[in-house]
Symmetry: C4
Subunit: 176 residues, 4 copies
């Protein structure tokens, strides 16, 4: 489903009617936002992949936690397109961060459901405290009010969080 | 495929050209309808997941019962968008319920095909009589004429049925 | 991928701006064409499912035969939408049949590749001569020129072929 | 995901409002570009299939190399649509080649990651030096500046590279 969301964002790129570099320039904010959201969704994809790899049995409660995460992620194409059109205005930038915060918290819920359901001490030991996840939540929650002060700073925070997660979580990999 | 249908509904969210809260307000009915249909499709996803988990062999007749269910579900993005634009008018609200009723009955057919084909007494014992499914059919069938009296009541019935199913069916889980 | 093609056809249903039955009427030809194409793609889905179930090893040549089939099927949403707008004119009706003929022949190629590659005598015995496939090719090839005489007759032939295939191919099922 | 990208390209085919052959003619450049991109994506599909078949364990670094490839491939529907509208102009033709070059190099990175990670000498022996990949990179890199001299020649190079890859890579198949 994350793959489908990525491709839906591609649909936003309207074919320019001119064959000049100037005709591509209006697409630049969307293109940069697309890269940010692509990395954002990619992070969930890889982490989700590791998580599901460990999970042996998918219960109904895990399925709904999963759907809850997908609900937030499904709003990403919309917030990406809106922010890219108004990247210097508070509301669209804050809404983008709100969806990222919601996704992050939904992932934490999914993660704790899997750990609890599975009594998966192996996983728990591997990951330890989810400090990186918690730090991201704090960063997003900070970026929301900041959008009314200076939107580019909020976007800077989103980029920083994305870069921090680009380093794959070797903790799960190493132990498993 | 249910994942694709969910993402198709997301395509309905047209990016507003203003960066204000007022520009988001026209999207509110669509957003609420989206949540309702998301839960609706999510219910089929989780139940379908449990059902397929039990099914050992997919015969042609099960495949077609499956396609029949997907046919009804594939109409959900259309009925969601239409109802969200006219949520206080009888026909779109009734058509939304009609597709929900059709999906529910198609699921019952799929379910009984699997039970019959598999002579799956284990599954049959686990689920017992499908009273929740039948009650939903009755609720939907009631909501259809109600739409001509007072559309919000029909929508209330749809919401109630969705909430009733949000509680995952532990019967299958427990036994398997 | 067939699931994606089915959902792409759903995108053609533009939400009517009125809440009346009259507003739904212009969608009727598209809806009927959608049902026809849904059954058409569903047939490939179920047959493809049985075929892949038997195939043990997917070689490069089978992958390309598969892609060739998907190429033809990928044109179905376009021909469905075009025919539904002009169902009483020769060219769109004939083009619809042409894509069906191409899909049918691509399926035959895929089928023979799998039989040859696998030296799959078990499969060969199960299916025997592909008379139903050949009869369909003849029916489609007949429907093409007929479209210039009387388009509804061509559409009737498409419907008849679809109905003939709705009966699942029990030959493979029984033997395997 | 490659299947989704292929179907997204199909969305570009706007249904003509006339039922004549003349109404189909404006779609011809898009149709030919679609075939080229379909083969292009099909090549990645089959090669990717073989590659993943050999890979036993998907590490985080392989997942990201995979996402990097998908990023480039996700731009193909856009470049296909743009080039098809301006196939006799330098920039769109060069941008199409740039995305093909990026995809090719991303595939090489993915390939070398898998070989290195797996210490997959079996795979390494099977494929030997990746001369075909390198030759394609050179061809694409040549086609970029050529687009400013004579765009059709660049397109000719793209077609030639696609045809060269249509022959499936039997080296992996034979050894495995």
């Amino acid at each position: 489903m994350i793959a489908i969301l990525i491709t839906i964002m591609v649909l936003e790129f309207k074919t320019p009617h001119e064959a000049t570099l100037a005709a591509l320039r209006p697409l630049l904010p969307l293109f940069l936002s697309y890269i940010l959201s692509f990395i954002f969704l990619g992070i969930y994809w890889t982490n989700h992949h590791h998580l599901m790899h460990i999970t042996e049995r998918v219960s109904g409660s895990v399925l709904w936690a999963n759907l809850h995460l997908l609900f937030w992620l499904s709003l990403v194409p919309f917030t990406t397109a809106w922010m890219s059109e108004h990247y210097h205005e508070a509301l669209p930038v804050a809404v983008y961060g709100l969806v990222q915060l919601g996704s992050g918290m939904a992932y934490s819920v999914l993660y704790s459901r899997i750990v609890r359901h599975e009594a998966n001490t192996k996983l728990h030991e591997a990951v330890g405290s989810d400090w990186k996840g918690r730090a991201s939540h704090v960063a997003y929650a900070t970026a929301l009010p900041v959008a009314w002060l200076w939107p580019p700073l909020s976007i800077g925070i989103y980029v920083a969080v994305a870069l921090a997660w680009l380093v794959p979580d070797r903790r799960i990999e190493k132990k498993v």
